[in-house]
């Protein structure tokens, strides 16, 4: 019987052939922690009696969630990470480098066929380059830092095939929001998803990352895509290790196969406070907006800032709206500066904050007021997510967010994309 991508990666990393349902103890290629989870991992590491790390070159710390620090207490936690990194020779990306998931991929730290764990739920993003990557908790990160290993249950896989042609003004974010609505927030719990089909084939890597990033929003353990020539081109000059791409066998066993036609898709919006309450943009058009946010590990990349600049060029953000942009990395910020997108957006009234998570998780840099409606390119809209449980968060594509920032209400971006 053939194997899925997950079964193949776990067979390699566990050192013997395994299939869905097996419990394995596997060698981890990369372990990542960010500033919301690593301080607790360091505490666990010490409580476990950790004296050394299994391989410092395979552990990465990133300060992105609360960066730069808004509070003295947070500065202490950041220093705890810096001290540990220095002591054990672990590489640390400090304030301003960018969002953990963007850095792990753009810096070539993850390669196809890898097994990666990260103490952050959106670690599943790296599935877009064909790595099995998944989120863990702080104590598991500590266990991996010591032993280099972790136990897993090899997941079953749901195959999602995306057929057709994506219409103009409709983006990969609209696809994954639509899928969340169709599959549900727990539709793929404990399972992996393999995305494929002509729509994926035509996407650039940046667009694919958005889809794998949100696999966890349908409960999935991983959101995988088989590498193709675009993946390999993207990895060229980035990958820091040699690698072997992993492809599913033609006769692989899937838990189920779901096929979607994207040709008729329209821009979609997730309504507060659930990512799977999803509606076509027209059905929520005219909801007044007080804050718009473009950024995050889902949609803070160069293409996302570019589309916002295209929509805002020569126009002015609605006076009732604070439009906040957080580039996902320093490199992306530099590209946006060089291409003139920053100037366009700032002239239009947008506010750039430092590369990192920005207001995504509600600790600083754009906490909304009471009764505010926020439209955001993030992946989560739970009540209180952005730091105020009396605000309501709508999720959409960067184009829809930029169009809504202009109009002061939720708007279909297609009318701005001439």
């Amino acid at each position: 019987m053939g194997k899925t991508i997950s079964e193949k990666i776990f067979s390699t990393k566990a050192g013997s052939p395994v299939q869905a349902g097996d419990l394995v103890i596997a060698q981890v290629d990369m372990a990542m922690g960010q500033d919301g989870t690593t301080p607790l991992a360091i505490r666990s590491f010490e409580d476990m009696g950790g004296k050394s790390v299994f391989d410092p070159s395979r552990i990465i710390f990133i300060i992105d969630h609360n960066a730069p620090s808004p509070l003295e207490a947070v500065s202490h936690l950041h220093d705890l990470m810096r001290q540990f990194a220095t002591q054990y020779g672990v590489r640390l990306f400090d304030v301003g480098c960018g969002v953990c998931h963007e850095l792990m991929m753009a810096q070539g730290l993850v390669v196809p066929g890898d097994l990666v764990i990260g103490a952050d739920s959106h670690t599943c993003t790296y599935g877009a380059i064909g790595a099995f990557s998944t989120g863990v908790g702080s104590t598991e990160l500590a266990a991996v830092m010591i032993s280099g290993k972790l136990w897993f249950k090899v997941p079953e896989t749901i195959r999602v095939i995306l057929n057709g042609t994506l219409p103009r003004g409709v983006f990969s974010k609209d696809i994954i929001l639509y899928l969340a609505g169709q599959i549900g927030a727990d539709g793929a719990t404990y399972q992996a998803v393999e995305f494929s089909g002509p729509v994926i084939d035509r996407m650039e890597m940046d667009e694919r990352f958005t889809i794998s990033n949100m696999a966890v929003e349908i409960g999935a353990k991983a959101g995988l895509m088989a590498p193709d020539y675009k993946t390999l081109a993207w990895l060229k000059n980035r990958a820091r290790r040699p690698y072997q791409s992993v492809y599913p066998d033609p006769d692989a066993m899937y838990q189920s196969t779901r096929t979607f036609d994207c040709s008729g898709l329209v821009p979609h919006v997730a309504l507060p406070h659930r990512v799977d309450t999803v509606k076509p943009v027209d059905e929520v058009a005219d909801v007044p907006i007080r804050e718009a946010f473009l950024g995050t590990c889902t949609n803070g990349r160069a293409v996302d800032i570019e589309i916002a600049a295209r929509i805002l060029r020569g126009k002015v953000v609605h006076p009732d709206v604070r439009f906040i942009i957080a580039p996902a990395s320093r490199e992306i910020f530099l590209t946006a500066l060089e291409k003139g997108w920053v100037e366009t957006i700032v002239t239009a009234g947008g506010v750039f904050v430092s590369p990192g998570c920005g207001p995504c998780v509600g600790t600083h840099q754009g906490v909304p007021g009471d009764e505010w409606n926020v439209i955001s390119t993030a992946n989560r809209n739970f009540k209180g997510r952005m730091g105020n449980n009396k605000a309501a968060i709508y999720l959409a594509s960067p184009a829809t967010v930029a169009a809504s920032a202009l109009a002061g209400k939720i708007s279909d971006p297609r009318k701005y994309l001439g």
């Binding site: 419990l23 103890i25 500033d35 919301g36 989870t37 301080p39 607790l40 505490r43 666990s44 409580d47 476990m48 009696g49 969630h65 609360n66 509070l71 207490a73 947070v74 936690l77 990260g118 103490a119 952050d120 739920s121 670690t123 989120g135 863990v136 908790g137 702080s138 104590t139 598991e140 500590a142 266990a143 010591i146 032993s147 290993k149 972790l150 136990w151 249950k153 927030a185 727990d186 719990t189 404990y190 409960g219 353990k221 659930r274 998780v361 509600g362 600790t363 989560r380 739970f382 009540k383 209180g384 997510r385 730091g387 449980n389």
Partner: protein
């Protein structure tokens, strides 16, 4: 060895209770003091929750408990506020692992019709949950062996302290 018989009162919740609700990002970034975090558990959906919990109590929920972020502060803050175990129809996987790793009991079972304020007795060895008022018994899905081993040690910290790494099966005494 963990306590194999647990007793406590129930606090009921619905579907999709996410980690932001369990402990908001507003608090979790500021401190590693779990007792402080324990005071704010479930605050956004039930402001009085922490005050209502007596040590040893259980949370009973429906589908997808613990969805959202990977924050281990969620199960740790629940433990700090006195919650000993969670019964749910299903869990989000990272939360499920985190809970067991911290020594918080997490059992998948049919929670249909359960009410708040009911006294339960949980026999972990047998995976049986008894409603001490109504008398009815439900059975939980068995945990993977490795999770039982981790729970038996009192959590992953103790487990790694003892074994240094993950072992396929370390104890056979657990059931």
């Amino acid at each position: 060895m963990i306590l194999m018989i647990l007793k406590g009162k129930t606090h009921c919740f619905g579907n999709d209770i996410n980690t932001d609700y369990i402990i908001s990002g507003r608090y979790k970034f500021k401190t590693l003091d779990m007792n402080e975090l324990g005071k704010h558990v479930m605050e956004d959906i039930d402001p009085d929750f922490a005050r209502k919990v007596a040590p040893g109590d259980f949370i009973v929920a429906w589908k997808n408990f613990g969805c959202g972020s990977s924050r281990e502060q969620a199960p740790r803050a629940l433990l700090a506020c006195g919650i000993r175990g969670i019964l749910a129809k299903s869990f989000a996987r990272i939360f499920f692992r985190n809970a067991i790793n911290c020594g918080l009991v997490a059992l998948e079972c049919n929670t249909e019709g359960m009410e708040s304020g009911v006294e339960l007795e949980i026999n972990l060895t047998e995976g049986k949950i008894v409603n001490l008022q109504g008398g009815n018994v439900i059975t939980a899905s068995p945990l993977p062996d490795i999770m039982i081993d981790i729970l038996n040690e009192g959590g992953l910290i103790e487990y790694i302290k003892k074994y240094g790494s993950f072992q396929k099966r370390v104890s056979s005494s657990s059931r």
